[in-house]
Symmetry: C2
Subunit: 180 residues, 2 copies
């Protein structure tokens, strides 16, 4: 389940350009699957090369031409197979937690700042979730609702945990730091 497959999946919703897909990665997918242009454009080229999508050039006045991609029957079949033949993983890559592992080497006020920063980031996600909910609340497939709810549950748990446990990070100052 790489960027290619996710792009292909997004295209089951209707034809779209790379730019369109990027916006989707930044909204409904933002909390669990990031992808930049450096991944999306090569992915779409590769999908087109493999015949899994068709590409239509749509000229525009002033702006650059749009390359609108549409999933093919082959692509649809490929996607179904890809969806059913994997055991999808769920990975966290947290510089935040890595930093907190070394909190005892940091000045307490910096640790506090990092925690505040994380809470602010969580708040941004929560606002995004509210927007997603209000903008298009009905007609969503069950999966999309499940995924949104998942994101809400995770951020809520994260927020609660940080608020309830941040005091412990300040509590244990290390004597000398000289372990050499």
């Amino acid at each position: 389940m790489d960027v290619k497959t996710v792009c292909l999946g997004m295209l089951t919703d209707g034809p779209a350009s790379g730019y369109d897909l990027k916006k989707e990665f930044e909204s409904s997918f933002a909390h669990f699957f990031a992808a930049g242009y450096g991944s999306i454009y090569p992915a779409l080229s590769s999908l087109a090369e493999d015949g899994l999508v068709d590409c239509e050039l749509v000229p525009q006045d002033g702006k650059p031409d749009r390359k609108v991609y549409r999933i093919t029957d082959t692509g649809r079949a490929f996607l179904l197979e890809a969806l059913e033949n994997t055991t999808p993983c769920h990975k966290v890559r947290s510089e935040f937690l890595a930093t907190m592992c070394f909190a005892h080497l940091m000045r307490p006020e910096v640790v506090e700042a990092v925690l505040d920063n994380r809470l602010a980031d969580i708040a941004r996600y929560q606002e995004l979730f509210r927007e997603l909910e209000t903008s298009c609340d009905q007609d969503w497939p069950a999966g999309a609702e499940f995924v949104l709810g998942f994101g809400k549950a995770m951020t809520a748990a994260m927020e609660t945990y940080i608020r309830d446990n941040r005091h412990k990070l300040a509590a244990k100052p290390v004597a000398t730091t000289a372990a050499g």
Copy 2:
């Protein structure tokens, strides 16, 4: 906060080989920061080249020589600066959630299998957490405890959410799937 910095941080705990660090990535760091040999060895080489760590060759009988790395004063200073001068991110990369977005394209029994698989994965993490707790319970820096607790809270929230909401994924079957 890349693999290099995390390795450097791990070395504040005492000298270690790439193999040792890999084991740490697989245990206490497993739930939030993955790294393979392909990242660790180049990271250590680069750190040594920059004078942030020293490398000592320790011959062994039968087995290959160990390359034991030790953080230098320069390295320690570099680490402190790196820890204090960033706003560390926290990213999720979930093929699982991406798959669930397209649950309406999948056979219900496959969706169920994916969910069961995820729960099993969560159970493995929970067992790892129990092991980490029992093996070295006192003398941990506050940060390590915070991070372990964070992992426990997240996996617990994940498990609860999946158990409470999985029925919704089966509830809304799509009529034709032919949207093209």
